[in-house]
């Protein structure tokens, strides 16, 4: 029954990767930029959640919302200040800028606040074991999965049913044609960064509650893994990011379950290499056909 437990663990971690991966993939879909600062937005979200809980004494859901709002604004600022001036620059220039922004956030944060660890209090969410088919499952794992899934459903709704979502899809497909519909492309890009960053903020709080320890460089590894998840699912494709994230989480849990726990982090990058070699457009990616 250990495997059921590992599966649930994997899915929980995976749902955190999936939330971060969604931001990567949304931003890539619309501006063709891998926003390497995205993992740091996740870190900032985690700290905002931490302070909301410990200093403001907010309950979990309120802290989650505060963190999402702060991260949404933060993401829009990053785009406005760092990426917008480079809209017509080469992609490599934007990519290098993204790495620069990432380092700036990490070390700027350490400069202001210091590098010391913090720990989320253990009692943010009820913690007990649930017995499922003989397997012991933590209630937190279930709650985290529930929150993640709710956010993903909300995102699907926004993207497919609202005017904002439709304009996002239109801009990501063909920005010039979208402009001819009267869509303000810059504003749409801003919204995309806001939504992606809000999801990263939520992931940060969830991560903090689940793993308790947070620190200013905590965004690097989950950020990279979420990037792998996004590539695994097919970069630019939302369901791909969700499936990619969950799959990566499960792969990691099983790698440690069969006794290679030291290889846990390596597994993600092996997956990346395999995907790039054998399926460069990812699980859900396909070549676009055009009709003339």
């Amino acid at each position: 029954m250990e495997y059921v437990q590992q599966l649930v663990n994997g899915i929980s971690v995976g749902s955190i990767y999936a939330l971060i991966a969604l931001g990567y993939t949304m931003v890539y879909g619309i501006v063709k930029l891998i926003n390497f600062a995205h993992g740091d937005v996740f870190m900032v979200g985690s700290f905002v959640g931490f302070y909301s809980i410990t200093v403001l004494h907010l309950p979990f859901v309120a802290a989650l919302l505060v963190s999402m709002v702060v991260c949404a604004i933060f993401g829009m600022l990053i785009e406005r200040i760092a990426y917008k001036p480079l809209r017509n620059a080469t992609r490599i220039a934007a990519l290098i800028t993204a790495i620069g922004v990432s380092l700036l956030i990490e070390y700027g944060f350490i400069y202001v606040r210091g590098a010391q660890l913090e720990a989320y209090p253990r009692d943010v969410l009820p913690d007990f074991k649930i017995n499922l088919f003989g397997a012991e499952i933590e209630s937190q794992a279930i709650l985290i999965l529930g929150v993640s899934i709710a956010l993903m459903i909300l995102l699907q709704f926004i993207v497919h049913k609202t005017k904002m979502g439709k304009s996002m899809r239109a801009v990501s497909y063909d920005a010039e044609a979208a402009q001819l519909m009267g869509i303000n492309v810059n504003r749409t890009i801003s919204y995309t960064f806001a939504i992606g960053s809000a999801l990263a903020g939520a992931a940060g709080v969830i991560f903090g509650v689940y793993y308790t320890k947070i620190e200013p460089l905590m965004g690097i590894i989950p950020g990279l893994k979420a990037f792998v998840a996004a590539v695994l699912g097919g970069i630019g494709i939302l369901p791909g990011a969700m499936v990619g994230g969950l799959l990566l989480g499960v792969i990691e849990s099983f790698v440690s379950a069969i006794g290679f726990s030291l290889w846990r982090d390596g597994a993600a990058f092996i997956v990346l290499i395999l995907i790039l070699v054998f399926m460069p457009s990812g699980l859900f990616g396909k070549n676009r056909r055009e009709k003339v």
Binding site: K166, A170, Y173, Q179, L180, R288, K291
Partner: protein, 235 residues
């Protein structure tokens, strides 16, 4: 309604329009003919705001619109059906039409305009829930035109609506263009098929390498030797 005065447009250092002047009166169909690379599409993109003129003026009812952002120009009543249709292939026909109406808030008017588009293009109504990418070329052209009409334009810019379509379909599309015009929309039509374009337009301009070389009523141009030689198959 629209007047373009001595407009120059550059792609980097290359001058694509070398001082073009043209006007379109309310209610007209005006066509712009010329070979590939003459600058016809560039001119339309300048009017709709996708390109900025470096010199010269673009006036809509006497007001300068040259260099304004494309989304603001749509608001002022100009819709552009771009070359190659550019429908959102990953979205349904219905969603494409909704995006065409992106700036509109008048619910009643919208409802009527959906009906209008469906009666002009019954095919679109049949395929409302279908992904635009699965439509045939002709249907995509219809969708691109219907989508542009949803913005309720006073001036419609059409770029090569006949491109890549079967002759029978081209006829249908051109009949619909005339219908749209008769319902009160002014049209500026860019077309390589000069014969067809001249048959529905009242006036025409001929472009060559970034400038207007000839202009006149369609009848004048149809009987002009220069046009016959270069664009109508020279007989």
């Amino acid at each position: 309604m629209l007047s373009i005065e001595d407009v120059q447009v550059f792609y980097g250092n290359i001058r694509a329009l070398e001082g073009v002047s043209l006007h379109v009166k309310q209610g007209e169909i005006v066509t712009l003919i010329g070979a590939n690379g003459a600058g016809k599409s560039t001119l339309l993109k300048t009017v709709s705001g996708l390109l900025k003129p470096k010199k010269g003026r673009v006036l809509l009812e006497g007001k300068e619109i040259g260099g304004k952002a494309a989304q603001l120009i749509v608001k002022k009543g100009i819709s552009h059906v771009p070359e190659g249709r550019r429908v959102f292939a990953n979205m349904t026909v219905e969603e494409n039409l909704q995006l065409g109406a992106y700036l509109r808030k008048d619910k009643e008017g919208l409802k009527q305009d959906y009906e209008k588009v469906y009666s002009l293009f019954p095919r679109l109504l049949e395929r409302l829930k279908q992904q635009a990418g699965t439509l045939s070329g002709g249907e995509q052209q219809m969708l691109a035109m219907g989508r542009a009409l949803m913005a309720k334009p006073r001036l419609l810019l059409l770029d090569e609506p006949s491109m890549g379509l079967a002759p029978l379909l081209v006829k249908t599309i051109f009949r619909i263009i005339e219908e749209i015009n008769q319902a009160g929309t002014t049209i500026l039509l860019v077309e390589q098929n000069a014969h067809l374009a001249l048959s529905i337009a009242q006036r025409a301009y001929v472009m060559e390498t970034g400038r207007i070389v000839l202009s006149g009523t369609s009848d004048e141009l149809t009987s002009s030797d220069q046009v016959k030689m270069a664009y109508l198959g020279g007989h």
